[in-house]
């Protein structure tokens, strides 16, 4: 539509008219058509009624809902923390093993100490793995106290 009066209004033009996206000339032309066609007027009235209904739907969460920022921050900064912690832990473990191997203690003491340390690490890894698996399926993970 470009200023001339169309014989029939298109669906697109009717929508643009309803949503205030037409030029003044197009608007005037559609208004004339609305006056002459009762069928068009009826359909337009239904669309307008729904539009007004949506204007009352603000869809805002009630007060007290926390911002999503805290959770986003923990998700986008978490990898840096994990990388630093893992790198530090790896360095300490490497240093510990080197000191342990170079120490002048007997083989039996080395085996016993190694068994205790490896056992603790395996248990810790099991606990972390179980918690990780649980977190993925826990339906209450977002519930705050």
């Amino acid at each position: 539509m470009t200023g001339t009066l169309p014989e029939k209004v298109s669906r697109e033009d009717l929508m643009r008219f309803l949503d205030g996206e037409t030029t003044p000339e197009e608007r005037a032309a559609i208004e004339v058509l609305l006056e002459t066609s009762s069928e068009l007027r009826r359909e337009f009235a239904i669309f307008l009624s729904m539009k007004k209904g949506f204007q009352d739907l603000s869809l805002v969460p009630r007060g007290g809902e926390e911002s999503v920022w805290d959770r986003i921050r923990s998700r986008i900064t978490l990898p840096v923390g994990w990388v630093l912690m893992a790198a530090g832990a790896a360095a300490w473990i490497g240093y510990g093993i080197w000191v342990f191997l170079k120490s002048p203690v007997g083989v039996l003491v080395r085996l016993a100490s190694g068994g205790v340390v490896i056992g603790v690490l395996v248990l810790l890894a099991n606990v972390i793995w179980d918690r990780y698996k649980e977190y993925g399926t826990d339906p209450y993970r977002d519930v705050h106290r």
């Binding site: 669906r11 697109e12 929508m15 729904m50 209904g53 009352d56 739907l57 805002v60 999503v68 920022w69």
Partner: protein, 188 residues
Amino acid sequence: MRRDLERELLRKCQRGDARFFEPVVRAYEPPGMRIALGMMGNIDDARDALQDAFVKTWQSLARFDLKRPFGPWFFQILRNQCRDALRSRQARFRVEALDERLELRAASPEQGPERWRERRAARELLWNALERLGEDHREVIVLKEIQGFRYGEIAGILNIPEGTVASRLFHARRALAAVLREEAADFR
């Protein structure tokens, strides 16, 4: 948020400083929440989708061209996130009762209680009818009627021509009217 300020914040974010992402998140959270709520139907799934969309935005920021406007790009990511979530087994569109956690726009004081009740019933009908619309129809209705974007903005977010936006809106509104007719013959 001013465009130049937003661009500056995003430039700092691209260098990896997450502190500058906070004002961006806070500026886009309210419209993002409205879109996600309209798409997902309930606060919990909407919040999850919004969070995931912001995280994906952060992860893709290095590829973002600062000469382009940020809003349409972010809303495109959010829209894709909502659609992915709806297709996954973890979420589905389920409407939350308006009374529970969603605030309604205040009725104007000159309206009487009768009129207020009528409008409230109409709002609830509309909200519940969204559940029965297909994804394509629902998203265009949400972007136009709930968020109030203009056709050009919707076209940018959905990556379709403006004429298609108008056409899709027509079909979406017709589908919605049909659902409403089924649910309440006396809808005004």
